[in-house]
């Protein structure tokens, strides 16, 4: 077994087939264990994120190439972000960025884990012309997000329904780059965000 990582497409995602047959998208840089190449498909075990522990496969990129990259890239230590609701400022490794939450349903103050991206969020599609990674949202919580349960994310866009929404859309790709290879212990999180009033 050899550790590799997911190479994503331009939007940062790769579609793979779980052993149970379901097609899912994995975010780039997710660590995997390469198992074998059979019938032009690369089989692997997912080591991080919402599908951690599951086996999957993807068609080979070419005769000698694969969507499972190696050597491993450099991963960074966990990030620590701070979002101040009153000033609409998000402190990040790339500097302060304008961000908002919904004034009527604001994210409660406190410290939240930032999870590895769970799935491509199609609500980000309208910003792809300004941010190639706009489909990538980071879930702020533990466990998996549940549809319709008022889940909070860090994402880019114009409208916030209670998430931490980065309004400077043109800065999203830079912020994404600083987050996507950060890792906290446990293989699910990239760091934390502190929300202040």
């Amino acid at each position: 077994m050899k550790q590799r990582y997911i190479i994503g497409g331009r939007k940062g995602w790769l579609k793979v087939k779980l052993d149970q047959g379901r097609i899912v998208s994995l975010p780039e840089y997710i660590k995997v264990n390469f198992l074998e190449r059979i019938s032009n498909r690369d089989k692997f075990e997912i080591l991080e994120g919402v599908y951690k522990g599951k086996k999957a496969s993807v068609s080979a990129r070419g005769a000698e190439t694969s969507w499972l990259g190696s050597p491993m890239p450099l991963y960074k230590s966990a990030v620590s972000l701070t979002f101040k609701i009153s000033t609409s400022l998000l402190k990040t490794p790339i500097g302060d960025i304008q961000a908002v939450t919904d004034s009527i349903n604001p994210i409660p103050t406190g410290v939240y884990p930032i999870q590895l991206p769970d799935f491509p969020h199609d609500l980000g599609e309208s910003y792809l012309d300004q941010a190639t990674k706009a489909l990538t949202w980071f879930y702020l919580g533990t466990g998996n997000a549940v549809q319709g349960k008022n889940d909070r994310y860090l994402h880019t866009g114009l409208i916030s329904a209670g998430c931490v929404t980065v309004k400077e859309i043109d800065k999203w790709d830079r912020l994404y780059k600083s987050l996507i290879r950060a890792r906290a212990l446990g293989g699910k999180k990239i760091g934390t965000i502190k929300v202040l009033a």
Partner: protein
């Protein structure tokens, strides 16, 4: 005679505008009709229209999918789609959809702060701002069909009535009236 026929309608419209301005005395973000109207004067380009149309199509498809799959709307994404469309290219129909979605999502807000009543009142104020702006845009000639105009007027009357009296009225759309006991 002919003029007097329209007087009650005229006065009710003036009343609605008056009350809606009172409700807007405090600055509101998305519900600030002045900001919406200022936005509307600059965002009518073809690119904005196309983008907003795409968002509205997506919202409608999602609503149909919600109906067939989960029997109720998942309002948070619907709000994002409708309100983004309204901000990118403000038009009466989009403001109407955004206001409805924002009211609709109140039931799905987990742990409303500081209270459900507070959230409901603030969303109603937002709705008043958006719907007032929608009527002004319609009067400025941003065309929309008569059914939508009537719906905007009904929803505006409904929101203003609930805000001023605390009681839901019969013309209220179901998303507005589902909270009718909240203010009692």
């Amino acid at each position: 005679m002919e003029q007097s026929k329209y007087l009650p309608k005229f006065f009710s419209f003036v009343f609605i505008l008056f009350v809606s301005q009172c409700a807007l005395a405090q600055p509101l973000d998305l519900g600030d009709s002045k900001s919406i109207l200022a936005l509307a004067s600059t965002l009518q380009g073809l690119e904005n229209k196309t983008k907003a149309n795409r968002l509205m199509d997506k919202m409608k498809k999602r609503m149909e999918k919600n109906k067939s799959q989960i029997k109720e709307h998942d309002w948070s994404p619907l709000t994002k789609l409708a309100c983004e469309a309204a901000i990118i290219n403000p038009r009466p129909d989009r403001l109407l959809a955004c206001a409805k979605a924002e009211i609709g999502r109140i039931t799905q807000i987990h742990n409303p702060q500081p209270s459900l009543e507070n959230v409901y009142i603030n969303q109603l104020k937002r709705a008043v701002g958006m719907l007032s702006a929608a009527l002004v845009l319609q009067e400025r000639g941003i065309s929309t069909d008569a059914t939508i105009v009537q719906e905007i007027k009904d929803d505006l009357t409904c929101a203003v009535t609930i805000l001023t009296t605390g009681v839901s009225i019969s013309l209220c759309h179901s998303v507005y009236s589902q909270h009718k006991d909240t203010l009692k």
